[in-house]
Each structure stands twice: as C-alpha cells, then as structure tokens.
C-alpha cells in the first residue's frame, strides 16, 4: 500500500492573531528564561557562601549594564510566568473556560505584568523596599 501525503492540520499562519496564542508561547519562553534565572540565583547563592572575591565578582556582574538588563528580563519573566501560571491553575480548577473569559484574563495578566514589574523596579531603584 502506497503512503500518500496526509493532509496536515492548519498551522499558526492561517489563524487571526488572538491574545491567547501570544500568552501561551510567552509562558513557555518565560519559563526558559526563568530556568536560566534560577541557575543565576544558585550561582549568586554560591558566591554569597564563598564570599571574598567570588561575591565581589558576582555583585559587580549583576551591577553591570548587561547584568541589570538580565535582571530586568528575569523580573519581567518571573512576574509574567507567576501571573499566567495562576491563570493556568485556575483553568486546572475548571474556572474561566468561556471564550470572553480567556481574553479578559489574558489582558489582565498582560497589564498586571507591566504594572507589577514596574513597581518592583521602583522599589529596586528607590534603594530597596
């Protein structure tokens, strides 16, 4: 029996953009960013434990422009993944499965991510909460 080309299910390009698709892929992307961030936290804890030059190097690295950009990226990914993760947990509990609710919760997470990340950095740049 010959194997003929099976029709494939339509892929991303045939769909009109919806916030839900962006939220979904960003959850995965932010998860990868946070994995690196968690390793950075472990590295920083090791530097604190080692003290001396190791801690100075780590503190210098985090205070550098590149370090600050990385920290900002981690904080943004953390706030987003936390809020959207709560959205996922509510779905797991059976809540919010109407289409308008998907969009409403998606926009809520998007706006709160910007607001809360900004608040964290106001506290950081204000010299610690």
């Amino acid at each position: 029996m010959s194997t003929r080309e099976r029709p494939l299910s339509p892929h991303l390009q045939v769909y009109r953009w919806q916030i839900t698709m962006t939220m979904s892929i960003l959850h995965r992307v932010s998860g990868v960013v946070l994995t690196f961030g968690t390793f950075a936290l472990a590295w920083w804890l090791m530097a604190v434990a080692a003290g001396g030059e190791a801690y100075r190097d780590a503190a210098e690295c985090l205070a550098s422009p590149l370090g600050q950009v990385a920290l900002f990226g981690f904080s943004l990914a953390l706030v987003y993944h936390l809020l959207n993760g709560i959205r996922h947990l509510l779905w797991d509990a059976g809540w919010g499965f109407e289409i308008p609710e998907f969009y409403a919760s998606g926009w809520t997470v998007a706006i709160l991510t910007v607001v809360l990340t900004a608040l964290v950095w106001v506290a950081v740049l204000g010299g610690g909460a």
Binding site: M1, V32, L34, T38, Y55, D92, A123, G128
Partner: protein, 136 residues
C-alpha cells in the same frame, strides 16, 4: 494506514492488554502533571516573598546579605524555593525537549543534561544556603 495496522493485529495473537503492558505505567501517568501543579502552587506562594527579600538586599554588603539569608525562616523558605523551582524547571524543560527535539539521540542527551543540571542547581543552592545559615 489502517489496513497495515489491521493486518499486524491479525498476525499478533496477544490481547490488547498484553500488547499495552510494559509500554508505560498507568500509575505514573499523572505524576508529571501533578508535581508540576504542586510545585507551581508552592512557587506562587514563595515568589512574592522571595522578590521582597531580594529587593530588600539591593546594594547591601556581603555581611548584611549573609545575616539576612541566615535567619531561620529565610533559610528554610529559600531552601524550599530552590527545590520547588529546580523541580518545576526540570519538568517544564523536559516537556519543551519532548515537543521540539525529534532526533532520538539528541532528545535523550538533552533530557539527561536537563535532569543533571537541575539536580546540580538544587544541590548547589541547598549547600550554599546551609553554609550561609550554619557557618555565617
């Protein structure tokens, strides 16, 4: 396609149950899902606390940082965070590898690296926290 599998089934005299046996444990089927959710709940509780703790230490000297991290509840909750975060990360990265890497040897290699790296990260964190908390 269906004809091929039908003819295979005819040659195979085992029952459907016998064919399914050994292909994976039904008992472990929801384990990944469940642990991912439980660690997610733990992290949802711990992350706001951790962010507050880290922000409070911005610009602090080494001695002050150690003093904060060595406080009993800080050390315990931070250790809990490290375990939950690396476990959650391992589960998430595992799924990403399963989804996108379709070359078997590369997939297995990446899965092993993922597991070992996350275990190493968690162990290093716990060691560092223990050392800071107990030795100052």
């Amino acid at each position: 396609m269906s004809n091929v599998s039908a003819s295979k089934e005819r040659r195979d005299l085992r029952t459907p149950l016998a064919r399914a046996r050994g292909l994976g444990s039904g008992k472990a089927g929801t384990d990944h899902f469940w642990v991912q959710r439980v660690t997610a709940i733990a992290l949802a509780l711990l992350v706001p606390w951790l962010v507050g703790l880290l922000v409070s230490m911005v610009g602090a000297e080494l001695g002050a940082v150690r003093e904060v991290l060595a406080r009993p509840w800080n050390a315990v909750l931070l250790a809990g965070f490290a375990v939950a975060a690396f476990w959650h990360a391992k589960l998430g990265i595992q799924v990403i590898i399963e989804d996108y890497v379709h070359v078997r040897w590369a997939e297995v290699t990446l899965q092993i690296i993922n597991l070992l790296a996350c275990a190493l990260g968690a162990l290093a964190s716990l060691y560092a926290i223990g050392r800071i908390a107990l030795l100052g």
